[in-house]
Amino acid sequence: MAPPRPDSRSWSRTFDDLGGGWRQRQLWGHLGWQDIKQRYRRSVLGPIWITISMAVTAVALGILYAGLFGVDLAVMLPHVLVGFIVWGFISGAILEGADVFIANEGLIKHLPSPLSVHVYRLVWRQTLLFAHNMIVYVVMLLVFPQDLDATLLLVLPAFLLLMLNGAWVALLAGVITTRFRDLVPITQSIVQLMFFLTPIVWIYEDLLNSPNAAIAERARLAEFNPFLHFVEFIRRPLLGQEQELRHWIVVLAITVVGWALTMVVVRRYRSRVSYWV
């Protein structure tokens, strides 16, 4: 008799993993906090250092690029700062996602917990970092008051979408990089490159409206950069700028397609991760 086929590649196990991980939120909630406290355990200011170092870099780059592009500092600095905060979450989800199972090798090999626990912990930790960084945003509002209105509330659904995307990216990247370790440094290089291709230290609209027709034409290519839409759709409400529907549509489409792709990969390779780490 031929041995029965393994049933590890089933949809129900895939959903069990995501659901089972969610039910263990006491665990990953606790671990996520611990991760933040851990990072600056023996320092006096503690987690505020995360915020300070982010703020210092953002302000320095804001001043530098305001000078380079000849833009008013009161415009450039908030733009760079908020862009930085959002990018911090995005790059954190990708970079730590590419390492999420490799870094948790010990836990994966010793405890039978759903893989998604590690991903939820990661997204939760990045969310806490984001919340820390919002202190800088509030301080910035005091120095450079923005023309905020009710659309500010859109930040909440936007951030929720950002978390949803962070989760699938980390899960997908985690599974693939566990098998192909070469992808870890490649991911790092790509994320670094994307930082410059995404309107964080430069202003997309200014390039689109550039008097130089060649630059304006080329700037349109940035539209193909998915990160542009993620940064724009959450930065605009934070700076009281007008919303643009296309950013939301692109983000929603990426959320759906990304999760669908991730589910297919997780279904196929979920049970292999503990063999690969």
């Binding site: 029965p4 393994p6 010990g106 917990s113 503990s274």
Partner: protein, 254 residues
């Protein structure tokens, strides 16, 4: 409908379960010669990536109340089998069904964080073993008393000696209520007086658990906790049955 509504019973069933490890970083096939015959399973060289068959055709039925000893030489697949039974490795071929909440205790140190206090580590280790925050809060006094660490529990774990760490870890793992308890050897390294004390707790823990599988090289320890045994060799089940019978066969084997 004639479906019986019997309460979910604790148990583990495997059928022809195999665990095959792909070895991606094995550059040269000479590894095959080195590994084969020395430890573990067999290395197949038919596919592009060398594969170690760590477990082959494991068919087991463990029911509620079983107290199973796991014996075998180093590299015979004891730890891998425990991981299969824990659901960490899903079989690459064959079936494994695990009914019940598993508490695997393979490594006392896993999930412990040196930078945080003993008390916080108690909480984290408990959460890792599937307990809730509330359950751990109820147990923390009992654990603290057992470890005899006193005020040291408020100090970061990195200030602890090895023996103190083991006490803390043992205190936590013996406080839980597991349905399926999987113990791997390495519960030593404690001073004699403390070991006596922890033996009682370990016995109580086993008493509370629905199902025990215990891998160890210490016959004395196995006899205290188990009544049946599984003998693993080269990734396969060589013999199962009564503990004394299996031990005799195992010891008589070179």
């Amino acid at each position: 409908m004639t479906v019986s509504l019997a309460p979910r019973s604790i148990g583990i069933t495997t059928k022809d379960a195999c665990v095959d490890f792909p070895i991606f970083d094995a550059k040269s096939r000479s590894l095959k010669k080195t590994v084969m015959g020395l430890v573990g399973g067999n290395i197949s060289s038919t596919s592009k990536v060398p594969i170690i068959e760590a477990l082959r055709d494991v068919t087991l039925t463990l029911e509620h109340g079983a107290r199973v000893a796991l014996v075998g030489h180093n590299g015979a697949g004891k730890t891998t089998l425990l991981r299969l039974l824990a659901g960490i490795y899903e079989p690459t071929r064959g079936h494994a069904e695990i009914r019940g909440r598993v508490a695997p205790i393979f490594d006392l140190g896993v999930g412990m964080d040196p930078e945080i206090s003993g008390l916080e580590n108690i909480m984290i280790r408990g959460l890792f073993l599937g307990m809730t925050r509330k359950q751990m809060e109820d147990r923390v006094d009992d654990i603290a008393e057992f470890t005899e660490l006193g005020d040291f529990l408020r100090m970061p774990l990195r200030t602890y000696s090895t023996g103190m760490r083991v006490r803390l870890a043992l205190g936590v793992v013996t406080s839980i209520d597991p349905e399926i308890l999987l113990l791997d050897e390495g519960i030593g390294a404690v001073d004699a007086a403390f070991l006596e004390k922890s033996k009682q707790r370990l016995a109580d823990l086993v008493e509370r658990s629905g199902l025990l599988v215990f891998a160890s090289h210490s016959d004395e320890f196995l006899r205290e906790l188990c009544d049946t045994a599984i003998w693993m060799e080269h990734g396969q089940v060589k013999q199962t049955g009564d503990l004394e019978e299996v031990l005799r066969a195992y010891k008589g084997h070179p």
